[in-house]
């Protein structure tokens, strides 16, 4: 799963620490999500999306190599 966190944050000129305080997590969590090392749970994904005024699908992109259930 890819995400547009870094791009959206740069557009708003937010620091990782600022975003972390907005969604109530540690800066390390933001670093890990941005670097694709950690996939957030639903709750954090929604909070991140809401912080940017976007939907979850706008922020996180699911990359499925094979269509599911086909």
């Amino acid at each position: 799963m890819k995400n547009r966190l870094r791009v959206l944050r740069a557009e708003r000129d937010w620091t990782q620490a600022h975003l972390a305080s907005l969604v109530g997590v540690s800066r390390q969590a933001i670093v890990a999500v941005e670097n694709g090392k950690y996939e957030p749970g639903l709750s954090l994904a929604f909070r991140l999306a809401r912080a940017f005024g976007k939907t979850v699908e706008d922020v996180f992109v699911w990359e499925d190599s094979e269509p599911a259930g086909v």
Binding site: A29, V31, A32, N35, K37, L44
Partner: protein, 147 residues
Amino acid sequence: MYKLLLVMLTRLTEPDRRTRARGVFEGARGFVLALAAASVVDASAAWALEALTLTFPSRILVALAPLPGNLALIALVLRRVRALDEFQRRVHLDAVVIAFLATGVAAFIYGYLRKAAAVPPLNAVHVWIFMSVTYGIGYAIAARHYR
């Protein structure tokens, strides 16, 4: 007595709420205070068992004296862990798993070496020290992995 202890543990292990009044043992400072208090009781009990001539029931009571303090420490640590965000919990989980498995492997190896009469009897506190060290190593590995 046990009921009171249970109520205390339940209240201590509730996740931190901003609306709740902050207690004496809140935060890192509170943890250090509780740790210091528990350590004093631990050291006093160890000293009493070594230096004083106690009857059998008294020895048991003195030996168990550190238990409430140590249970309170467990409660405080649980409370801190529950206040962590999901990512921090993941890192700590990785560290716990590494420490648990490393200690398990070490215990088996030590058991075989004991059967081979290659090592002396071990003080149980060394297991705790080993687990603490491997937990620290595990935490460093996990933090590096997710960076």
